[in-house]
């Protein structure tokens, strides 16, 4: 019987298949944070990132730091996605439509509308810095590598992000005195801003 060439699985296919099976769920989690809880955009990001990874699979396999390679791909895709916004496919509007959030999707975590809004209010790369520093608990150097920027930029971006998050996530009536640090956002022990 004649075999369809496209049906032959290559070594790359096998390796990539195993990678996706083992890492896809974690990538989706990261993407959900990078997109401030937009589950549809997160899935798009993961698909686009995986596609890029497949295309550059030999380079990924040769990378000294494969995890760092994946993070850079995710950030690049996120940046591409943001830049795509320049090109409007739909008419602009006065207010963004409600998007399905975690509360409406059982596959995601519990509703945290305040956090979602706070993350949405951060510029994408600042948000990514927060995700890598305080969710993945990467060092400043690794975060800088993922974002393709300097260590100093990571420090300043995360400091500004934390200020914004503290303000946004301050509990009602919990306004901190002027100049005093709010404790509504605390970092894990050993992770400094």
């Amino acid at each position: 019987m004649r075999q369809d060439r496209s049906s032959v699985r290559t070594e790359r296919d096998e390796q990539f298949h195993d990678f996706v099976a083992g890492r896809r769920a974690a990538l989706v989690r990261t993407a959900r944070l990078l997109t401030a809880g937009d589950t549809h955009l997160a899935e798009d990001l993961v698909q686009a990132a995986l596609t890029k990874l497949y295309v550059s699979w030999p380079a990924f396999r040769r990378a000294d730091n494969p995890d760092g390679y994946v993070r850079r791909v995710l950030v690049n895709v996120l940046t591409d996605e943001r830049r795509r916004v320049w090109r409007r496919r739909e008419r602009p509007m006065a207010q963004l439509p409600e998007q399905p959030g975690p509360a409406r999707d059982p596959a995601t975590g519990p509703a945290d509308d305040a956090l979602r809004q706070a993350l949405r209010d951060l510029p994408p790369r600042m948000r990514a810095a927060v995700v890598f520093r305080y969710f993945h608990e990467l060092g400043v150097e690794e975060t800088a590598d993922a974002l393709g920027c300097s260590v100093g930029t990571v420090k300043s971006q995360t400091a500004r992000a934390l200020d914004k998050l503290r303000t946004a996530l301050r509990p009602p009536g919990g306004a901190a005195p002027h100049g005093a640090a709010s404790h509504s956002v605390v970092l894990r022990q050993g992770v400094s801003s």
Partner: protein, 256 residues
């Protein structure tokens, strides 16, 4: 008191592990993108070879210093390069089958008004946030038209049209492009990025990805005139259209 890590961890949720169908789809997307990349590379290499061969033949036929390889070779005097890099008509190129600009004579909207439109185009819809120009065929969709399949009929879609709007409140700055003067105002003509899909970027075969004309208003806000890909307008025509757009006090910035 809140631990930011825990809160992010909860927010990220617990997506299910992918099933075989999902993984196979990821593999298929990757394979398709790799195939496209290889085909594109082969075509580009082939095109380069053909171009080199044509140039060599032209030089041989015309001879160096005879003017055989120059501005007039191939295109003819008077033609102008279109925004997508192909040879197009001048702005008043009536009768050659290409896009012609005409004065807009219909009813004017409120937020934005417009002086010049491509011949055979009309204002499909407008509000305080945008003005949308579409080709006349969008006027009569017919009983079988499906706006979800042919967005020209969808007044919410910018695909295949010219969209006029102020820059979103959430966007800042102007992308890199060609500095131009638009009706006496500072402008920048920006080549659009190709639309990105999960399968990877797929620029159209002719390289036209569309254009955006940014025109700085006296308020400091940028007016954006977005030209979808494949409209066949020259850069001069885009600037002429942009110069005829007037922003009124009711015009408002969108978000997102």
């Amino acid at each position: 008191m809140m631990d930011l890590h825990d809160r992010l961890d909860q927010f990220a949720g617990s997506p299910a592990h992918p099933d075989s169908t999902q993984i196979d789809a990821d593999v298929a997307r990757g394979r398709a993108a790799l195939h496209r990349r290889r085909v594109t590379g082969a075509v580009a290499a082939s095109a380069t070879g053909v171009a080199a061969l044509v140039a060599a033949v032209a030089i041989a036929a015309g001879g160096i210093g005879t003017g055989g390889v120059g501005a007039d070779a191939g295109t003819g005097t008077g033609d102008r390069t279109t925004a997508n890099g192909s040879v197009g008509a001048s702005a008043d190129g009536a009768g050659d089958g290409r896009v012609r600009l005409v004065a807009y004579t219909g009813a004017q909207p409120k937020g934005f008004t417009i002086d010049t439109v491509p011949d055979g185009w009309f204002i499909q819809t407008d509000d305080n946030y945008s003005l949308l120009l579409a080709p006349d065929r969008a006027k009569n969709p017919g009983p079988n038209a499906d706006p979800s399949r042919d967005p020209v009929y969808d007044p919410q879609s910018f695909v295949g049209k010219i969209g006029i709007m102020l820059q979103s409140k959430d966007a800042h700055g102007v992308p890199e492009g060609t500095t131009v003067t638009v009706g006496g105002k500072d402008g920048v003509l920006v080549k659009s990025r190709p639309a990105m899909t999960p399968d990877g970027s797929q620029p159209p075969a002719d390289g036209d990805t569309g254009w955006e004309l940014y025109v700085r208003q006296p308020t400091g806000i940028q007016l954006i005139v977005q030209f979808w890909e494949g409209l066949g307008l020259t850069q001069d025509q885009m600037i002429d259209i942009g110069a005829g757009v007037h922003v009124h006090k009711d015009a408002a910035q969108g978000v997102g």
